[in-house]
Symmetry: none
DNA sequence: AGAAGTCTCAAGTAGAGGTTGACCCTTAGC
DNA sequence: GCTAAGGGTCAACCTCTACTTGAGACTTCT
């Protein structure tokens, strides 16, 4: 009886109360129903009690999130979860970014009005993200704009390492949006993918607008003290 | 009977057969039902016949698409379509130091098109920051814009608690700038304070631009996988 | 041993999303 | 002006999803 007794297993009631915070309308009978519909398959004790692993718990959370936030019907959620095929494979360079011309380091520095030392530093802190191609770094146009902004900030005494936080914040915010539109973007239905791109665009605008407003408010508070 | 007879208007049966190709399960009764549910509002003849404009047709297509491909319930589609009233890009960004009129909760909710429950939630997570004055909460104009953005994000299933990160990021970024200009702003010398405000403004723009660019880059990466 | 928790299975419920039918009115074409 | 084809409302009905409830029996914990 060695196998898997290590990892903590949860009974249905425990699972239910754990999720009650995030999903107030969970219930024991609902969990059973979801199993009945083929969305969950918890282990069982010899006596027939359901035992939920951490993975089961996570899966259940995903189900509830898709249901609550994406309004997906269970039938669709089942499909979504059944196909881990959504993982990569597709080197589709679609949409949002049409193919952009790329720059090398010298061009970037010239465009941004910075020196290579600063560029190297920016790269070190993840503010520039070139792709390497045959030993050569290639920068997107966007990176030049980023470098320009950073260069000007540097003139105020704000070094790249201070700016790392900007990047991680942007990444986190994008990650949030990913959670929302990711499934659509990876959908098999091309119409749904297109809609996903549209949502991505809209959410991007909204998110950008929001952080802009919040940032501005914080600054104003700063100004008025 | 001169008015508006120029643009071609369609009867319900025509609309129905036009859409039959793309949406086989459309029906006259369904269109009527959608109107009943407040999703459509076609004009009427004196006799009471529905008359659909091209815009109505487009709107109907959108509804059917959202329903079929995104599985959105009508209630959500209605919201979705009702909101783009927020279309106006307000570049209004009054100077940092200026006095702004304030709003109370009701006004805020109305301006942002959200309900008080959401407003309360936003406040809970620090996205709205009213000042309390004699037991009354007073919101800045900026808060209304923030609430508007959050409301729209909520329609995408992004709840206030997911947005807390946006605020903390904005605060951290503002804090960074504070470190640079803070001393000037608190200086006794008014000339130096003025210069500090100018720097604050410039740094604000730069910081905002930077996080915008970084966010955009992260999204593009998302779009191209 | 006993209380608290869980099991299954059948039946019931609430709401979304329409459909159907009865009955009457409009509109376009002759 | 007549008439056929199409449209209007309204109430009742229907189907499907997503659960809930209750009865009766079993399991687990202490």
């Amino acid at each position: 009886m060695a196998t898997a007794s290590k990892t903590r297993m949860l009974t249905i009631g425990t699972v239910c109360s754990l999720l009650k915070d995030d999903f107030p309308d969970i219930s024991i009978s609902k969990i059973r129903y979801l199993e009945d519909q083929g969305l969950l398959a918890p282990r069982r004790t010899q006596g027939g009690y359901r035992l939920f692993s951490e993975d089961d718990l996570e899966r259940l959370e995903t189900i509830l999130r898709l249901q609550r936030d994406e309004f997906l019907p269970l039938r669709v959620i089942r499909q979504e979860l059944a196909s881990p095929a959504a993982r990569d494979r597709k080197r589709r360079r679609a949409g949002l970014g049409e193919e952009q011309p790329e720059l090398d380091l010298t061009e970037l520095c010239e465009r941004a009005g910075i020196d290579t030392r600063l560029a190297r530093e920016l790269e070190e802190f993840g503010l520039l993200a070139p792709r390497t191609e045959g030993g050569e770094k290639r920068y997107a146009e966007l990176d030049a704009d980023i470098a320009l902004a950073c260069g000007r900030l540097a003139q105020f005494g704000i070094a790249p390492r201070h700016l790392r936080g900007f990047r991680t914040a942007a990444d986190r915010e994008a990650g949030l949006i990913e959670q929302v539109v990711g499934p659509s973007l990876r959908a098999r239905n091309p119409e749904r993918r297109r809609a996903g791109m549209e949502d991505l665009e809209a959410l991007g605008e909204l998110g950008q607008g929001l952080s802009q407003l919040l940032f501005w408010r914080a600054l104003r508070r700063l100004a008025s003290t």
